[in-house]
Symmetry: C2
Subunit: 379 residues, 2 copies
């Protein structure tokens, strides 16, 4: 029986994780979780999973919930997330939060000797080096839940690392993949949110359309697998059936295929080092297509390689500017192409520093996000 | 430095193996080899690779060769093949012979404590159970060289066998894949010999067009990987870029991709358990397509599953009838569809026996091949 702490339980990854916990009650048990802002979903989760500690977004309903679930400790907000991360019982800490808010709880959970399953890319993009050090220091494991890195992990796990020539991250191309850059000028939010293959949250769906998501994944892969950027390639593959590939020194390629069903990578990560004995999503082979990645069409992906190599605070700047810009786009305040423009401008304008501390990173994230929001207000 | 014995050195697999030996002289050395019937190729090989023991097809040129290469022991014919298999020095025995002639030397090499690299499918089709027993008894390894099984080996090698739901052998469909069964009636040898992806010997190219080759591979896979037939699937994949796939219990699929270049699986097998540090055939991803296998279009593949499950002498009967029928087709004595007709008739007419001895198998092979040739002569 594995004990689980789940941040972001009400989000897409979170709810799919809870679905797996319900399906395999003899294998997994939720000890702590954090809820979202939709009351109906929150109540559904509270009814089904009797956690010892639950974090609420706000203290609004805390008295009601406390009377309904007297055995549960309720905590609130960012401090609440930290309390779950620091909870004294052992267990696996699953970070399915969206955005830069995921960083601090991950660090705290590592310091509390919890193994980490990471769906929050921002943790590694912003503080990859610090996280790597902390993991070594506290002797815990960190494994990826998102489908691409999970696939790469499944492939790399069995290989001699010296045999790996490069890893290949596939990209569906997102909602707007069949449009030229010219056609992107007047894109509406609704169009950018129509992901052809994956059902995900709004932020990551927009990031897929701008290819920022793939850029974040490149940086994430660099820290997860300790590989230089010239060994991390991206490839367009519209069907999202091949989730990752590794090319070996002798020219052979190994690929991991599966349906676009996030429960598969989550279940793999939850079950590791064993493998689940049944499939929730039987796979049918259909046509597969590949296309070379076009960096002119997707400048944010190019940028991610650049800031990844330069390190320091630049990955945080890129991530923060993007996080704020996507929010503005989703609020109909900027155009689709403005997202790229803002992110590139912020990165170019920033005076980078080397070896930032965790505080530097968190301050920088805050500062850039505020700057992008303010800048927009002024216009 | 690995010492190698190579049967079938003048054939397609054999010459590609010699190419690798020439490229990596510090890693591999030929100790023994068998030549073919083309004098020019034979002389080229003798000049380049100074083997201790060489087997000639006939004794025609033996005196000439002996005077040119006084340090080499020359042997002749089937007895010569057995002498190489029994050669007292340790080394890896590579069986790249075509057809049922490969069986006896493989057994002898196992008995002489040599590890086996097998390109000769017939060895396992005819005597899979005996070979498996001999390998255990003499504690040697047997690994596949042909691209499909080599790919499956690379994938299976790293997995817990209990996690494997099934293995998937891909098939290009061979030279006539775009024709209906009706259009096959008047097929000429030249058409059936035009394989779209692989450059191989005539027998295996015809076997690809009839799908007999995939049928032999199914049976080979059963013995190589000790998997029941309901865990061995075949799938049409025209590009021959995915050479093998395994489906795991949780629904994930792992695939091995590479160019249609036989040197890659040969080099992998020669280098095992290490992996070669350079690629001879850099891989470019292009379009990949899959199609369900159609057993009505390819009745010999269906037959292979049936005789595989029934065991005994039936796999030998199927293989022998096919070997003889392909020979007749290549001599313009029967039509393309006659190949299937003859193989199916011979299998249906045969009174099977269980647990045949090696002698039973070799006699049966001989008897069926003669029967198919005689039957044709009488017409």
């Amino acid at each position: 029986m594995k004990h689980l702490y789940l941040l972001g339980a009400a989000g897409s990854i979170g709810r799919q994780t809870l679905d797996l916990v319900s399906r395999f009650p003899e294998q997994f048990k939720i000890i702590g979780l954090s809820l979202g802002s939709q009351q109906q979903i929150n109540e559904e989760i509270l009814k089904t999973h009797h956690a010892k500690i639950v974090c609420l977004r706000s203290s609004e309903n805390i008295n009601l919930y406390q009377s309904l679930y007297p055995d549960t400790t309720f905590v609130v907000g960012n401090d609440g997330l930290m309390a779950i991360a620091a909870y004294p019982d052992q267990g696996v800490f699953i970070n399915a939060l969206s955005g830069s808010a995921g960083l601090k709880p991950t660090i705290k959970a590592i310091e509390s000797k919890k193994d980490i399953l990471l769906a929050n890319k921002e943790t590694l993009v912003m503080a990859g080096e610090i996280v790597r050090k902390k993991i070594k220091e506290h002797q815990v494991s960190l494994y990826p839940i998102d489908s691409e890195h999970n696939a790469l992990w499944q492939l790399i796990d069995h290989e001699d690392k010296n045999d790996i020539e490069k890893i290949i991250i596939t990209a569906s191309g997102g909602a707007l993949r069949h449009l030229t850059r010219d056609q992107l000028k007047h894109i509406k939010k609704e169009d950018a949110l129509k992901h052809p293959n994956w059902s995900m949250g709004a932020k990551i769906t927009i990031d897929s359309a701008t290819m920022m998501n793939k850029g974040l994944e490149v940086i994430e892969a660099h820290y997860l697998f300790d590989l230089p950027y010239d060994k991390i390639e991206t490839l367009l593959h519209e069907e999202s059936l091949i989730h990752g590939m590794i090319q070996l020194k002798d020219g052979s390629l190994k690929a991991l295929l599966g349906n676009a069903d996030m429960r598969m990578p989550i279940l793999y990560a939850l079950s590791y080092p064993n493998r689940a004995k049944q499939s929730l999503s039987p796979f049918e082979l259909t046509d597969l297509h590949f296309k070379k990645m076009d960096f002119n069409r997707y400048p944010l992906l190019k940028l991610a390689y650049e800031v990844g190599i330069k390190k320091g605070l630049l990955p945080t700047v890129m991530n923060a500017a993007n996080e704020a810009a996507v929010k503005l786009f989703l609020e109909d305040k900027i155009s689709f192409l403005d997202i790229e423009k803002i992110v590139i401008e912020e990165v170019n304008a920033f005076q980078n520093i080397n070896n930032p501390s965790l505080d530097d990173i968190i301050q920088c994230d805050d500062m850039i996000q505020k700057k992008v929001f303010d800048y927009k207000k002024k216009r």
